[in-house]
Symmetry: C2
Subunit: 342 residues, 2 copies
């Protein structure tokens, strides 16, 4: 018998009254210290931005909400920070909105909030506004989180699909499939011999270092989350109207992921990542970018994984050059066997 009973979230925590205020005072404001949040106004008044605003939003419904290498709080910060950073912008502020299910242990919420605050600090972004709603048992799954990020675009940064040209190289900052496979194995209760954990991480410092160290080298960036590297690369091919050719031999894949994927019949190219960025760079500057990345946190295993060519048919396609030297067309993911990966 447990001596101290876990306190659960009640419907009344979401009614906007006394219990909501208690939750805000005793939990959220203990972890989120920005003055705009502490002021508790309906909207957060912030300092003027040093450039045009960049906004991005993402809701997180990952199951389970604690997983090897992270939790839904860390993920909610990393995901939105990365979405802003890949545009070339500097993320500054986050809003955080919780949808809690009645019965969620408050101790779980506290762990998640602490992780959210810690990851925000690591990324150098401030949590400036929030919201909490509670739904009845059976209408949620513990906790869903929306984060929306605001940043600004520094002058002279013009990344975009239209910059991509034949001859460009495709770089990734490390191994693929780690997030997807960790979630899958956690959910299925499969234990692998070696440790497997999500790559979930904010990449804004890595990205900013590349943009500052190698000005003009980067054409376009995107983080290959849901749908994996293949789905993201296919989107880039379609939007840029170029062919992208991935080199199967060059793909950085961890030993455990490679073995597990083979065992389970899954392709790491379609498995989600939460701490990876695909970077399309000027072909002649690929080595320079790579050298910079390998010196930086979250960049040690960076590799050139492919190249851009003129399209051979009426639209841009994604190919993978296999171990046997043949080329195979890849499509977007369709019917992921693994829902709620983020």
């Amino acid at each position: 018998m447990k001596e101290v009973k876990e306190k659960p979230i009640l419907l009344a925590h979401g009614d906007g009254g006394a219990l909501t205020h208690q939750l805000v005072q005793d939990l959220f404001l203990q972890h989120f210290k920005h003055e705009a949040l502490q002021a508790q106004n309906d909207g957060a008044l912030l300092k003027a931005l040093s450039g045009p605003p960049v906004l991005s939003t993402d809701s997180f419904v990952i199951s389970p909400y604690f997983f090897p290498g992270g939790d839904i709080g860390k993920l909610a910060v990393a995901g939105t920070v990365n979405d802003i950073a890949v545009t070339g912008a500097i993320p500054l502020y986050l809003t955080v909105a919780f949808i809690l299910e009645e019965g969620l242990p408050i101790s779980d919420l506290e762990k998640i909030v602490a992780s959210l605050a810690k990851t925000a600090e690591e990324a150098g972004v401030a949590i400036v506004a929030g919201d909490t709603k509670v739904v009845e048992r059976g209408h949620g799954d513990g906790i869903y989180i929306n984060t929306t990020g605001l940043g600004y675009m520094p002058a002279e940064r013009h990344l975009g699909y239209h910059q991509i040209q034949a001859g460009d190289k495709i770089i990734i900052n490390g191994t693929i499939g780690d997030h997807g496979l960790s979630i899958l194995s956690t959910r299925a209760g499969i234990a692998f011999d070696t440790e497997l954990s999500s790559d979930c991480a904010p990449l804004n410092h890595l990205i900013e270092a590349i943009l500052q160290s190698c000005p003009g080298a980067v054409k376009f960036m995107r983080d290959p989350t849901r749908g994996g590297v293949a789905t993201t690369a296919k989107e880039i091919a379609l939007a840029s109207e170029k062919d992208l050719i991935l080199d199967e031999e060059a793909l950085p894949i961890g030993e455990t992921v490679a073995g597990a994927a083979e065992f389970l019949g899954l392709d790491p190219l379609y498995m989600a990542n939460e701490g990876k960025v695909i970077i399309i760079v000027d072909g002649e500057r690929a080595e320079e970018v790579l050298a910079t990345m390998r010196e930086l946190p979250h960049g040690h295993n960076s590799a050139v994984i492919g190249k851009v060519e003129e399209k051979k048919s009426h639209k841009g396609q994604l190919y993978v050059k296999t171990h046997f030297g043949s080329h195979r067309i890849l499509d977007m993911i369709a019917g992921d066997p693994l829902p709620r990966i983020c």
Copy 2:
């Protein structure tokens, strides 16, 4: 037997692949036309703001998602637009993130998206970024929506609790309790003789007109949503360290709401509103503000409903002067009998 079967949302609509893209192309981009959204980047690059940014976020979990006078889409725009407008800022942009439950009829989603787009147009805000997640049956309730708003604060606007002084008057822009009671009656299947509908509406144009027509008259504003007028007024009393005295006789309450509230034993002061704003104004300028409001949409039934006095105890309190002339202390709502009102 139905000839055309309703198409439902599938888990694969949330996998980031082919079906997600189809939903984005065939539904969202048909209704949301802003160039930043159409560009389909991870983050939306916007025009530079004419002042410091103001951010606000809200998730909406209202049940049912269609109700008299509105739906979750209209509510999601009005709610966040109003949260920004009450700070004195001009709302410009919204992000919209959906959490859909597997099985949601796509026709329902389309109605909600159309309503969202229409309300955003009415409010003059652009939807610039979005996200869609799908959860399995039994882990949601049709649809939850997060909207996050970005606006800017024009120069020389300094609304805040610290501006509130004894002698100020309390104004509201119309009848109270309409939203709460409509949802309650819809949910309980109660029909009232006369029509009852939610007051759900974006108030930014009304608020901006007041601020421009009566410069310096407004001290503070807040929208009395969850918890109703009493909970919001109590928050203002606590934060400003003043006493707020509401005049029961002056409260604008529609006939149906008054009758139904009495019948059900509920107090309209604690019922949610979604198209109302409480405005604390300089006492000497209350009539000027009132005259301006009564000429404007969403302001016809505006009324002075109370006043501000120096606090009589160690903290600011909320009182209501009853029909009998006595004063009664009011607290925040605690344990709303009506969860998921917004």
